[in-house]
Symmetry: D4
Subunit: 168 residues, 8 copies
């Protein structure tokens, strides 16, 4: 079994960290190595280009890019790599993330970005793990366990609700 | 180098085939084995469940699911597999694909779907290839070549435009 | 007069309970037996399938399913039953329920879901009662009384306003 | 087994008939008695009121109301009956049915309307049949058969696709 | 000079009173007689019908109707009168008034409603006064004065800003 | 009985004439004098200002202004008159009239515009007539007749449909 | 090197000052002379016209106009000048600035307005400076320095994040 | 008087040429030198970077960038230059240009793009000329003449309409 590739997480602004933070917990839970960078498609375009260009040879398997407003960051990174890039639209601003969603998901033919839900950083991490699991049987098994846990959690909440309803 | 995993493409309706067809050409160009199925999350839910559950053990690496309107198919497949699922919202109907986009991209925490652009089947195929390239160095090289070809195509169009402008 | 069929209420998450709670009061007021379940289309898809498949033979007449974001739950339940399914889109998230509304109301031909307003759990309960009233004359009478009460309430508010306006 | 209640279909304009027509075929297939009326919430408000008020005693079990633009018809009928009212938003006009959808689905607390998809007349008919099936075991059985037919149709289309793909 | 006709203001719910209140001040400022009623298109449809039918003969010149969500009230009143009806969409609910705006402004051919901005009760009052001014020269003069006052207010704010900027 | 005031119709572009044309028929049917002008808020702003400023003293009672895209024309006219201004948003362009609707209906406090439906020129004419009817009892009577005609037309269509249904 | 032209900033309401304030800081940082005016397209239309007409001869190079709701101000100013006009849509109201954005950006052919992001006053100032820099080499150099500073700020935030991540 | 700076027009795809073409006519009419390039932010990102970086020193005064879908091109160019960049959102695709509009106009703080209307290439050219006119008095005069011509054209259309109306 080969060592897992790492995940590179790029945020357009450090103010996005609280939204990204639960995604890091997921990556840790699955023992996925990761790096987090603040880098702007517009304010530091050369740094963004370099990050994307060097990612594959640095052992990165998946790039996650989170950005708000006219969220060009995921597309700009995707333009400079052949790695899968997952885009996380961030809510905020007057359009509350619809702008970011469209700017991420509506990529033109040739340069795909994988969009997840607005503020869906946790799902971005899970998607990255599913991608890496193709390379790593253990990750597949762990993901199956994770889904079983989630199902048990839902069932636990149902049981708690049944108790609560009896009391009413 | 391991044999490439295959791509499973699921359409909610056979009327979506023309939109899917260029994606199949991309997969062929990259020598990716694939299977295409018509299967509905609502009309044949058990078949959808089986497809998703059996995918990984059948050698599938990535599932692409295309659906319109209240496009539940990608999410329903994702609920039954730990493979990455790419969702392609299909335009059509009075809301012209915004409904499908939201129903695909706004998946709740725990079960990710990777959304591409409305009618973006070609990008779904390219994303699948990028995912499979983590497992297959040759695919990475081919993808780099493909991007170079695309760039040359753009440059060729620019040269043609310059000629055209001279004539005006 | 036959015993009323029951109403099965399914929530995608227990956090939706406060929104559902006033609907339960309506069902109690009309003496409709009901059951409330937490069950996720994506995290516990098999449980959801079972709930829907067994509903009719368990004496359920109407299913109410409430979900937010890419709200697949009502459609997934509808795929597995021939009972009427009422979907309640839940607000929240960056799109504030438009995503849930579209994912519920835009069901493709063949598998209907009856959508009510975003966060419209009370109307879902009233609709369920109207449906059950076809089977149960007493419910029809009670519903007529309920509408008369509502009208009186509006008229009471108008009288209070007239008093208030005199004082100004 | 009791005789099935009938379905009353009300259109805001006779130009909506082609969209309604396939729904009538569904009702015929299930042997549901029905009546179709052209009646406007705004141009013939008294007629609309009468239709709704007399529906239950005329043996109607479900009202289906289709309207476009500021589609008040379903809500206006619902205000005058305790029968379940299904609203079908009709596309057309500059907003292409989003206006009709919102005007139908966003009913205030107290007076529910069951919205189906924009132009979803067939689903409105199927929903009406599901509602009437609570009262009529035969309808339940027929609906199960109908769903099996639909599933077979999807599977047939998949088989046809597999043949087509072999030829390519 | 004839006595001014009155304005009838109808609210779908008494909770809308704070939004309506500044409009009443405008009517008072212009010495326009008015009446305010709580009346629901759906919960008290007969009362709404009566209000509209009797308005002209009671000396009403303009009806202002304010409603939220699937805001049918202005259209329902307009169906029963030949007086001009001004509709005020009220914000609130998950769609924040876009639903009310569409349900008011998109009236089908034949029965007009004059829509003003979401929560634009003051403008509804001013529009009513402009309408009544056709009948009443004094009102026209007062409205001209009011516009001059508004202009002076803006100029006063500009002067205050200039002072403030000097201090910075 | 006083002579009816006239209606001034202003179009932002002569290409809007076909949409305006049925409104002129309505005005003729009711014997309302009218004038139609092509005038742009942006390309001929001084002309627009003059039209609005002179309207009242020229015997105009109501201004109807139709415009598309960033439809400023109705608001600009309203800024220069105390007459009621009815705005007709025109569809067309990539946003198909939503831009025009918002630019017309969302007028700030102080300067109202009465918005009708997108492309709703006929309703604008009817609204103008309703406004003028306050001043002119005959117009009120004619409007009542017109509404009766419309109702009869709907009933005629219903009878035709009943015949058609018998034949099927 | 010629003296820089000035920037004229016009706000529809003095309540917009806090949003405009950071833009003034930018102009000061670049030593650009500016004037700020409160002026309404609808309440003081003549003042708006005069401001625009006199701007060029008063040494103004760029006009920035900020407005919310049916934001006609930038377009009205643009109608009366040949200077570049930058429009800043302001959030607020039930539509939260989408109305203002459409009313500003969708200007018809012939009279352009340069729209920036909703509440994007700072970018309006930077755009004005970029425009003025064509006339003034020093401004170009300062703008390059400003972009370098912004890039360093992003890099500083990245370094701070790396430290923070080590501590976790 | 200095020689006018040139305009650089960049299109994401050569299929956008017909939409751009009328803008070139405007530039020619005003004797503005221009260059047109096909260049993609995603398929030829290095070429885009170079174009932007070299623009100022090549005598470019304004960049116009037209793109559809997730229209990153204007923002990507703006990241690499201190020249004013005008973005033209192009309609097309399922969202018909709303995606392009948001991706262009909602630029984050620090890197402005001047957005014009969807498909508003002519206005982009006029805005570029207005910008260049600050540097070139003759252009200002020509622009004033152009606006006079436009006004005359509107007045001519009004006269034609008056003739047409007489004939009806």
């Amino acid at each position: 079994m080969r060592k897992s590739l790492s995940v590179l997480i790029v945020m357009g602004s450090d103010s996005d960290f609280p939204m990204i933070s639960p995604a890091l917990k997921i990556l840790k839970k699955f023992d996925i190595p990761f790096e987090v960078k603040v880098c702007s498609a517009h304010r530091t375009p050369e740094d963004a280009t370099k990050l994307a260009k060097n990612a594959r040879k640095s052992g990165v398997g998946v790039i996650i890019a989170a950005a708000g407003l006219a969220a060009h960051l995921p597309g700009v990174l995707a333009a400079h790599t052949t790695l899968p890039v997952i885009g996380v639209p961030i809510s905020g601003g007057a359009l509350n993330g619809v702008d970011a969603l469209y700017a991420i998901v509506q990529m033109p033919k040739g340069i795909p970005v994988a969009a997840v839900a607005i503020d869906g950083a946790v799902n971005a991490a899970l998607l990255a793990i599913q991608i890496l699991s193709l390379n790593n049987r253990l990750l597949g098994t762990k993901m199956t366990d994770y889904k079983t846990e989630m199902a048990e959690e839902v069932r636990g909440k149902d049981r708690a609700l049944q108790e609560k309803l009896k009391e009413i």
